[in-house]
């Protein structure tokens, strides 16, 4: 069932490739805006790069949360999913994973290119990409709770940012912190361990909380 949900969502995303590309280009534009605002001083930019890329990834992932359930909600698929005998948490986990594959993975693949624009050394690029690889699934997992709670509400898009962004803070701190620690010559392993711990914890709890939220929203 898990693979069925993922395959279906990926197929739907491939039919509407523009949506996927919009998120990616949003990410690129936000990252490109900072040098224009801060100034092209390379030494400053190099220090700011991990934080900028991570904040942009947070925003891009958050903006695409609305699509996770809303189309299924509008055409009635979500109701059928709720009625199905399969565990709702499992089906929701499938939707979270496909959200990550559609929005998270392109960001991870794009990050090294943007890092080069900010003149990051090669080792920092590797750490940045790996930290995003570990961190972006957490964003999809936690974000799904907010997306499920704001389903069908007026102003849901803005509301979801209020709910979800404070919860993203630990991911931002340790994701960007890993890159900074590695450029400072300190080990980044501790940051990665914590990111991994967050990933595992949210993998256990987020599908369950999201399933409960969906049931509340669909009552």
């Amino acid at each position: 069932m898990l693979t069925w949900v993922i395959r279906r969502d990926l197929l739907l995303a491939m039919r509407r490739q523009a949506d996927v590309l919009t998120t990616l280009f949003f990410f690129i534009i936000v990252v490109s805006l900072f040098p224009l605002g801060v100034g092209p001083e390379m030494n400053t930019l190099r220090i700011m790069a991990p934080g900028i890329v991570w904040v942009a990834a947070l925003l891009a992932s958050m903006l695409s949360l609305g699509r996770m359930f809303s189309n299924d909600y509008l055409d009635g698929t979500l109701e059928q999913i709720l009625l199905s005998p399969t565990s709702l948490s499992l089906l929701v986990l499938g939707k979270m994973l496909s959200h990550w594959l559609i929005t998270g993975v392109p960001l991870v693949l794009m990050a090294p290119v943007l890092g080069i624009q900010y003149d990051l050394p090669f080792s920092a690029l590797v750490v940045l990409t790996l930290s995003l690889l570990l961190g972006t699934p957490i964003l999809s997992l936690i974000g799904a709770i907010g997306a499920a709670l704001t389903l069908g509400l007026r102003g849901g898009g803005v509301l979801v940012s209020l709910l979800v962004l404070p919860l993203y803070i630990p991911v931002l701190i340790f994701g960007a912190g890993a890159v900074e620690a590695s450029t400072a010559g300190l080990g980044f392993e501790a940051h990665f361990s914590l990111l991994g711990a967050f990933l595992l914890a949210s993998l256990v709890f987020a599908p369950w909380a999201t399933a409960a939220s969906l049931r509340i929203s669909m009552e």
């Binding site: 709670l149 704001t150 509301l159 209020l162 404070p166 803070i169 912190g177 509340i216």
Partner: protein, 246 residues
Amino acid sequence: MSINWYKYASPASFYFLAGKMIPYFSIAAIALLIVGLYIGFFVAPTDFQQGEAYRIIFIHVPAAWMSMFLYVVMAFWAGVGLAFNTRLSSMMATAIAPTGAMFTFIALWTGAWWGKPMWGTWWVWDARLTSELILFFLYIGFMSLQAAIDDPRRADKAGAIIALVGVVNIPIIYFSVQWWNTLHQGASVSIAQSPKMATAMLAGMLVMALAAWMYSIAMILMRARTIILERERHTAWVAELKGMTR
């Protein structure tokens, strides 16, 4: 004597109980506030390092305590409401949120006023300040989610989930912010008070904290009463109440 607690789980009987309790808590709040402010301004000695400006802690520390405590209480009642489907518990959670947010704001604001003369800056990205700011965001998120949902039952349950997710996250956020701060810069400013505090200072702070408790209880009960009236406006007992006052 045993009290039938379930009786007061009904909004109708709680409405009258709260109405009876509010005057006591209000009077206690005002009395403690007067005593606390008197101790704070006249009895407590001037701090030899911080001068007179330290006196803001008599507001600041109780507000910071209440801001954190009320969030846990709010999440507790929201969780009870979600688990046992008791309407009154969810109404209590909704009633607590604005008071908690207010104390968070006061803690941040008075902290800035204290920071300017002490640290020479209104704001530092210190671990405690940052996590208090995030707590404020969590309160705002809870309130705006409930405000956006028209159906009160759905608002209760959705709010409960976000409050519980928040309460799980608070320790994580708190520690991550603390580590983030220490990883970046060495100890620049520490908010930690010296433990050797004059007795009068400590007494003033504790009395003010009690005043904040009493104020919160009175305020929350008042707000719970209005929420009960609003939600139960179609019931017979509210109609009766209206007939009585007319």
